[in-house]
């Protein structure tokens, strides 16, 4: 970083000096009356031409220098399968685009220098050249086709339907924090929700008339996800727009009130693995908000903990269900499910942990929970 500042300051200083020197030269020229330029040629014409060359040289140094200095602070290689594909695609595209960036800018500045006003020279009358124009219409078109194709393939794969074995986790944005909800310690199916059921305790509006909801649990400081298999985030917002952003996984999707969205990905580096890799024992994956949502927009941090399957399962089974935390909500459970709900209450901690979930019709719909209709049914 110090290098960046140093380099840019240098560029800055040198160019400032050049400009001042040029200015003095112009003043001198005017005073001594040696200026021979015709009236229509602006003062300091050749100086400006020279500055384009200087600018070119210093920007090449600046771009390369700052890039090298900045690179160490870029995000580490993506910790998800699609993320690494996007990284490759990004740097490939950047590489392709660096060519026109350098060539066109260089030619622009070089031509400015080379074809500066010279007394007696007449510019070339060159209004068109169809062949040239066709060539430089076709080349960008072909390059674009290539980029579109690779981008489209990646996009289609990333936005395809999540695999059936995906771990489904709900994440809800509100001003100003995230709340995650898991399918539960037993049935691993998310129950229904309804925004009208939201209150100070039931922050995501869990609908306890749905059998699947009974063992759901929530967390509003950290999200645990298993490594090595697909994770499907079901995303919604409670009040205004938010956007789920996990920079290290290259995951982003808006959270929209009234319109559930989703994003699936395969995290494949546990927190411990990446800590070892980066040599930073305090490293944590993070989840941020990237859609302006009000005063606390800049501070909606949630820790992301990626674990191997076994420790993830263990963590899930140790969580306190919503009913366990707030037993008074038992009142909201319909009578026919009360007996089932009893085992998730704190008074009954010895309930068998692997009670099979009965298959009911509500279960199917509740587990899917997609579409605005799910909550207002």
């Amino acid at each position: 970083m110090v290098y960046i500042i140093g380099l840019l300051t240098l560029v800055f200083l040198v160019l400032t000096v050049m400009v001042i020197a040029r200015l003095r030269n112009v003043v001198k020229g005017v005073n001594s009356g040696t200026e021979t330029r015709p009236e229509n040629i602006p003062s300091g014409n050749s100086w400006n031409a020279n500055l384009f060359i200087l600018f070119t040289i210093f920007s090449i140094i600046g771009v390369i220098g700052t890039y090298i200095a900045a690179e160490e602070d870029f995000l580490p290689a993506a910790s998800s399968v699609h993320g690494r594909r996007l990284d490759d695609l990004f740097w490939f595209s950047m590489g392709v685009l660096a060519i026109p960036f350098l060539v066109v800018n260089f030619l622009l500045f070089y031509f400015s220098y080379k074809y500066q006003y010279k007394p007696g020279r007449i510019a070339t009358y060159y209004p068109e050249n169809h062949k040239l124009e066709i060539i430089w219409t076709a080349i960008p078109a072909i390059v674009m086709a290539l980029l579109v194709f690779t981008g489209w393939r990646a996009w289609s794969d990333i936005t395809s339907e999540a695999p059936a074995d995906a771990e489904v986790i709900e994440i809800v944005g509100k001003q100003f924090n995230w709340i995650v909800r898991y399918g539960g310690v037993d049935d691993n199916r998310l129950g229904n929700y309804n925004y009208k059921l939201i209150d100070a305790q039931n922050e995501v509006g869990i609908d306890l008339t749905d059998e699947n909801s009974l063992d759901d649990f929530t967390n509003n400081t950290e999200i645990h996800i298993p490594a090595g298999r697909p994770v499907l985030l079901k995303i919604r917002a409670r009040d205004v727009l938010h956007s789920v952003f996990i920079p290290h996984m290259r995951v982003k999707m808006d959270a929209v009130p009234g319109m559930p969205t989703k994003f699936w990905f395969v995290p494949d580096k546990t927190t411990n693995e990446i800590r070892a890799e980066l040599g930073d024992p305090n490293f944590d994956y993070e989840l941020a908000c990237t859609e302006i949502c009000g005063r606390g927009h800049f501070a909606m941090r949630m820790r992301v903990i990626v674990e191997d399957e076994a420790s993830y399962r263990k963590w899930v089974s140790e969580q306190k269900t919503f009913l366990q935390t707030y037993p008074e909500y038992l009142a909201k459970v319909p009578d026919n499910l009360k007996s089932k709900a009893m085992k998730y209450l704190p008074e009954n901690p010895t309930a068998p942990a692997t009670a099979p979930a009965d298959s009911t019709t509500a279960q199917e719909a509740g587990a899917v929970g997609v579409g605005a209709s799910a909550s207002v049914r």
Partner: protein
């Protein structure tokens, strides 16, 4: 406004034709004027006023970003309650600043200030018309803009602050006053102001289009129009089609805010209360907004590109390369501008299939844009370049257009946009390609047409220093932001101290802030040069740049009606620079081919035959002379 009036004082130089004309009162002449040149200057001065406010705001929030928690107590006289006891900027006000900066710069400076100024000033002068088709509508257009500005200005000073939901003002944040203070009265004023602004744009746009179609002088066929006029013409069409959609978006938002409708609201629980609204969609607003919002980018940029085409050709002393290709690319860009809006919404939750379609359409825009960049570069090739400040800014514009345009290809790729959406990569991209490039077009235009506006020259050396300071400054500010974008830094963050992954780049952010202050200060050089030259600049000659277009055939300061006597007829395209065989290195559009046998190309000799026909028509000057 005093400077404005003085600038126009020069127009008192009247021709004999005018002698019989009744003097207009002060108010009709300088304030509620129907003269396109006065209206253009009104737009320009108003635009400059707003740009100082808009850029000043960016310096304030850049200070917060570069030096988090910096003590701003010295600004308490301006910021007042928006600083806490320790002088730190309030996070809500940070968002208000970001929002107002965007709104002001995009709409008031780069739309009204650029397009309003130069469309008004140049269309009648370059097509050979006495004035706009409707001077009255033109006057209304300015005053609607003025009132829009007054409303927006008032909103800066109210208790709850101005609108703060980002310049896109996405609901529900902008629809619910309980979501943030800025969504209260400030947001209402924002909507009122924008509605008035849209009316202004529509009145202006109708006028530009009508004028270009109907009031061209004899011989000024569409294939002899300067590229500036092509750009303004297409821009006006873009605005006319897209601004009403923003109007409807704003109207529905007003309904949601005031009348309890649910166009954009659904299933919301906020401040301990579940709202009754169901069935609305925030995504609908985004579609409507970006249906304007994306063409808006080109509404801002195309006039700048048109101005650049004219200036590069004049100062390279060469015809613009590929005149027809340039027109085709303007039309192509304008057409595509309408069908790419959803690339702003790849991760909004809309159907991914739409994402594929919009990615494809978006990347097509790169093709006409590339053609333009190549054509500018080729125009420089083997020219005889004069580095006037206008020329320097035009070259700078092309560089920025290329640099910023290329990162657009990354962002237009829906897959890559997943990571980069709403990060500083986007900020860097659009500030370079749309903000800075268009601003460079504005500067170029002012430097180039200042002699025609005020009859005096701006100081060249000062203009050149202004260019270099701005050009270097803009790159120093925005180029490093790509790096923070690649590192995942999200936009519109009050501070980067809440996350581990944004803990880096602190000195880079400080550097960017310093560069931004430097660039901001450099603009005062321009302000000084501009206002000083209005009064004290060197007297201009009739055609100081030896340019071909019609405006340089008017008197040094054109009076009401622009040309004393008949409007000149046009016989050739505007880019006959350095024609082989010609006596001088430029041939104005008013010179018939019959007078230049030495330089005529074979097909041009055929055009001598139709010169009589051109002279015979006088459809477009209802007055036959200046009235």
């Amino acid at each position: 406004m005093s400077s404005l009036e003085t600038g126009i004082d020069i127009t008192k130089v009247h021709d004999d034709d005018h002698a019989h004309h009744e003097e207009l009162s002060f108010w009709r002449k300088y304030v509620f004027s129907e003269d396109h040149k006065v209206i253009a200057k009104q737009y320009l001065i108003t635009g400059i006023f707003w740009s100082i406010i808009g850029l000043g705001m960016s310096v304030i929030f850049r200070l917060q970003l570069g030096f988090p928690g910096i003590d701003m107590s010295w600004m308490r006289p301006i910021l007042g309650q928006w600083l806490d006891e320790t002088g730190k900027l309030d996070p809500n006000f940070y968002l208000a600043l970001v929002t107002m900066h965007g709104t002001i710069m995009v709409f008031f400076v780069l739309t009204a200030g650029l397009s309003g100024t130069f469309s008004n000033f140049l269309i009648p002068l370059q097509i050979g018309a006495r004035d706009m088709a409707s001077g009255f509508l033109n006057m209304l257009s300015y005053w609607f803009f003025f009132i829009a500005g007054v409303v927006m200005f008032i909103s800066l000073f109210i208790q709850t602050g101005p609108a703060s939901g980002g310049w896109v003002v996405y609901p529900p944040l902008s629809a619910l006053p309980q979501a943030m203070p800025g969504s209260g009265l400030g947001m209402s004023l924002w909507l009122v102001s924008m509605a008035l602004f849209i009316v202004s744009q529509l009145l202006g746009g109708i006028n530009y289009i009508t004028t270009v179609i109907n009031l061209r002088t004899r011989g000024m066929s569409f294939n002899r129009l300067p590229l500036t006029i092509w750009a303004f013409f297409i821009t006006a069409i873009l605005g006319l089609i897209s601004f009403p959609v923003l109007f409807s978006a704003a109207l529905l938002l007003i309904f949601d805010r005031q009348f309890g409708t649910s166009f954009y609201l659904s299933e919301i629980y906020i401040n301990g209360e579940a709202l009754p609204n169901v069935g609305g969609s925030p995504i609908l607003y985004q579609h409507l907004f970006w249906f304007l919002g994306h063409p808006e980018v080109y509404i801002v940029l195309l006039p700048a590109l048109g101005i650049t085409s004219e200036i590069i050709a004049t100062n390279s002393r060469k015809p613009i390369f590929g005149y027809r290709a340039m027109i085709a690319s303007i039309i192509g860009i304008a057409f595509l501008a309408f069908i790419v809006w959803a690339h702003h919404m790849f991760v909004s939750g809309m159907n991914p299939f739409l994402g594929s379609v919009f990615m494809f359409l978006t990347l097509i825009i790169a093709v006409p844009s590339a053609v333009k960049a190549f054509n500018y570069t080729t125009t420089l090739w083997r020219g005889n370049i004069r580095f006037t400040p206008a020329m320097l800014f035009s070259i700078g514009l092309v560089s920025l257009f290329v640099t910023g345009g290329l990162t657009g290809i990354i962002l237009g790729n829906s897959a890559l946009d997943i990571q980069l959406h709403d990060t500083y990569f986007v900020v860097a991209h659009f500030h370079i390609v749309m903000g800075a490039a268009s601003a460079f077009g504005l500067f170029a235009g002012v430097y180039h047409w200042f002699p025609k506006m005020f009859g005096r020259m701006m100081n060249t050396t000062m203009g050149q220093i202004h260019f270099w300071a701005t050009f270097i400054g803009v790159y120093l500010v925005f180029f490093p932001l790509h790096y923070t974008g690649i590192a995942g830094f999200p936009r519109r963050y009050y501070t980067f101290t809440s996350y581990e992954f944004t803990k880096s780049f602190t000195d880079l952010n400080a550097f960017v802030t310093i560069a931004a202050i430097f660039t901001f200060i450099a603009q005062f050089l321009f302000l000084y040069n501009f206002f000083y030259s209005i009064f004290k600049g060197k007297k201009a000659s009739k055609n100081p740049w030896q340019s071909n277009t019609l405006e340089w055939t008017t008197p040094v300061v054109p009076g009401h009606g622009n040309w004393p006597g008949e409007i000149p007829a046009v016989y050739r395209w505007p880019y006959d620079y350095s024609k082989p065989g010609a006596k001088e290195d430029f041939i104005p559009q008013t010179v018939p081919h019959s007078q230049t046998p030495e330089s005529n190309l074979p097909h041009e000799n055929e055009e001598i035959a139709i010169e009589k026909d051109i002279e015979a028509q006088n459809f477009n000057d209802q007055f036959r002379n200046a009235h």
